[in-house]
């Protein structure tokens, strides 16, 4: 097993460069591999195709929220309303499709639109009303959750139409639809952040807002788009979860914002902006997913699970920071 725990030092400069061209930090990949190896040793149920799908399925909603968090945090912003907006979107989608009896496509559209509107309001308030993002999105956290409870009357809205269900429960080629949508979303988001002008502007904004402004980036507009995108992604997550359980659940996504932000930070996103990559975030989300899955397979009591997750968070970010500081000293 010790070969799985190779120290970063054994990698040559060339190998490191080839990995980092993909915008991920070697250290977090190492933690993921080591963690998986550990779980495989500890539990006979860990290494199977069906369990791999379990992990990806369990990571799909959090993973999509983590993509949103990477964009917003990378730009020096913060979105604490992710989990609540996810819950609201699922309820709105279910309300439109079930209570209003609208066609499936409208239900799907309503989920993403509801999220996008919540995000757009966040963006407007942050850029035009000059309320700090922390407060705006914290306020939206309460607003969206409350609205979800109001619309649903506090109960789950059950019985989604066929097409919406397919998005959550369909299994083309044996792969759950949420996993396919998650991976596709991550791929697109990675390309946008790493290779487009929009992505470069996002990270430039996080690096230094004044410098970005001086360079001619339309800072406010960029931020509004980012918050709207973040809300729409939360809407997508809400859609997938609703479709999985065939109902809009007003309590869905409770506290997910913190898990999503955690995944982004473990994946190397700088909490204060300027640095971030979607591939890194995916590794961060998978670290959390593998850890949770492994601890579940081992039937570790939930109290200890929370401790283990907290410890791994600190450890993963410590390793990452250690490497960053070492490089900057050279």
């Amino acid at each position: 097993m010790s070969s799985d725990l190779a120290t970063p030092g054994v990698w040559t400069r060339a190998q490191r460069a080839s990995v980092e061209r993909l915008h991920i930090r070697l250290e977090s990949l190492l933690v993921l591999v080591a963690l998986s190896a550990l779980m495989a040793v500890l539990s006979p149920y860990f290494l199977s195709f069906s369990n791999l799908l379990n992990i990806l399925l369990a990571t799909s909603t959090i993973g999509i929220l983590a993509i949103a968090a990477t964009f917003v945090i990378g730009s020096g912003g913060l979105d604490l309303s992710l989990g609540s907006v996810m819950g609201l979107s699922g309820v709105v989608g279910a309300f439109v499709a079930v209570n209003l009896g609208a066609p499936s496509v409208l239900g799907v559209f309503a989920c993403i639109l509801a999220g996008g509107i919540a995000g757009y309001i966040n963006g407007q308030l942050v850029t035009r009303a000059f309320v700090p993002a922390f407060i705006v999105t914290l306020g939206m956290l309460g607003l969206a959750r409350g609205l979800a409870l109001v619309i649903s009357g506090g109960r789950v809205i059950y019985g989604l139409p066929e097409f919406m269900l397919y998005l959550g429960q369909g299994r083309p080629f044996g792969i759950p639809m949420p996993v396919i949508i998650f991976i596709a979303t991550a791929f697109i988001a990675h390309c946008v952040l790493a290779y487009t002008r929009f992505g470069r502007h996002t990270l430039a904004l996080g690096d230094s807002e004044s410098a970005a402004r001086a360079a001619g980036i339309r800072v406010e507009r960029q931020r509004r788009i980012l918050y709207t995108l973040s809300g729409a992604l939360a809407g997508l997550a809400g859609l997938l979860f609703s479709a999985r359980i065939n109902s809009g659940d007003p309590t869905a996504g409770l506290n997910y914002e913190l898990t999503a932000i955690t995944a982004a930070i473990i994946g190397g996103t700088n909490l204060f902006g300027g640095r971030g990559s979607i591939l890194g975030t995916m590794i961060g989300a998978l670290i959390m997913g593998v850890l949770q899955n492994g601890l579940n397979l081992l039937a570790v009591q939930s109290y200890y699970q929370q401790m283990a997750i907290g410890a791994v968070l600190i450890l993963a970010v410590f390793i990452d920071q250690y490497q960053v500081r070492k490089e900057s000293r050279v």
């Binding site: 080591a34 006979p44 409870l149 999985r244 309590t251 899955n293 579940n296 109290y303 250690y322």
Partner: protein, 325 residues
């Protein structure tokens, strides 16, 4: 240095896991999925499962999530439990739909599914084509009604005055059922007692105390408070005594937890409709064993609730008292 630290941490995580792991999985296990363990109610139910399993000589593993609101995490835990291929899944779902995909998969694998504490909705199960072996739990509507019966037995059917209902977390079905059961029965037995407010206390003792303060100010003629759980009832007790109205207001909780029992003995809380979670857990395991052996098991097993008052506790002859933890 990093490698060393990483190794050390992994070893300690491994040690931690192994120390809490106990026995590794074997065939013929019962999987028990709770909501959360950080609550005396679920703790007592877990204890009942453990004792029931020991007596019946069956192997089981229990899992839970961090809070009784973690719907998707519970679904994920449920899915991973299926990897261990248990013979039965005894599940206390967080809401009526969050476990549906997992329960369906369990059924397809030939695993018997049990609804612990009655959180599933039969109409939804029928539509999804999920057949559960049985449901077991206490009837929350009946528990609320028992609270109303106790209140009327204290104040009389002709009593008049304002009544406050403190509900559970907004959107939680258990709290809703208790509040509904109480309101319906009260309207039937003593129409003169008017519910002037029914507010969500979010299962929170402090919030319940604030609500009580507010309503005592608004309705000085408040004669009774029904809270959907004991924690909130105890918050209401504190607020009522602090306002000097402790002995004028009848306060009733639900659950029968140890704090409530102590408060009733001290003559502060008037009554608690005790659920018997220990008995629910124990009987669940016993009935699963019967069902697996091919015996007939009723599809709906209602575990009784018991109104705890100072008299009942002092008297001590009620046989169900043994299960009040």
């Amino acid at each position: 240095m990093i490698g060393k630290m990483l190794r050390m941490s992994l070893v300690s995580v491994a040690a931690l896991s192994l120390s809490v792991l106990g026995a590794q999985a074997q065939d013929g296990q019962y999987g028990v999925l709770m909501k959360t363990l950080s609550n005396p109610f679920w703790g007592a139910m877990g204890q009942g499962v453990e004792d029931g399993a020991k007596e019946a000589g069956v192997d089981y593993f229990v899992q839970a999530v961090e809070s009784d609101q973690a719907a998707e995490p519970q679904l994920n835990v449920c899915n991973t439990m299926l990897e261990r291929q248990p013979v039965a899944m005894i599940t206390a779902a967080i809401n009526s739909t969050n476990l549906l995909p997992c329960l369906k998969a369990a059924q397809e694998q030939g695993i018997k599914v049990v609804d612990l504490d009655g959180n599933l909705d039969q109409a939804i199960l029928d539509k999804e084509g999920i057949e559960i072996t049985f449901r077991i739990g206490s009837d929350n509507v009946a528990a609320g009604a028992q609270g109303a019966e106790y209140l009327v037995s204290q104040l009389g059917a002709d009593a008049t005055g304002a009544v406050l209902v403190i509900e559970g977390l907004s959107g939680n079905i258990t709290g809703q059922k208790r509040a509904e059961g109480f309101a319906e029965k009260l309207a039937e037995l003593a129409p003169g007692l008017e519910i002037v407010a029914s507010l969500p206390g979010d299962w929170d003792r402090g919030k319940a105390a604030s609500i009580t303060n507010d309503i005592m100010t608004r309705n000085p003629d408040l004669v009774a408070i029904f809270a959907a759980n004991d924690g909130m009832a105890l918050g209401a007790v504190e607020a009522a005594y602090a306002a000097g109205k402790g002995d004028q207001i009848v306060i009733i909780g639900v659950d029968g937890n140890s704090d409530a029992v102590k408060s009733i003995k001290d003559g502060r809380l008037n009554a608690s409709v005790a659920q018997l979670p220990y008995l629910v857990g124990k009987q669940a395991v016993e009935n699963v064993k019967k069902a697996l052996a091919g015996e007939e098991v009723p599809s709906d097993i209602a575990v009784p609730t018991l109104v705890l008052t100072q008299e009942v506790l002092d008297d001590g002859s009620e046989p169900l008292l043994e299960y009040v933890k």
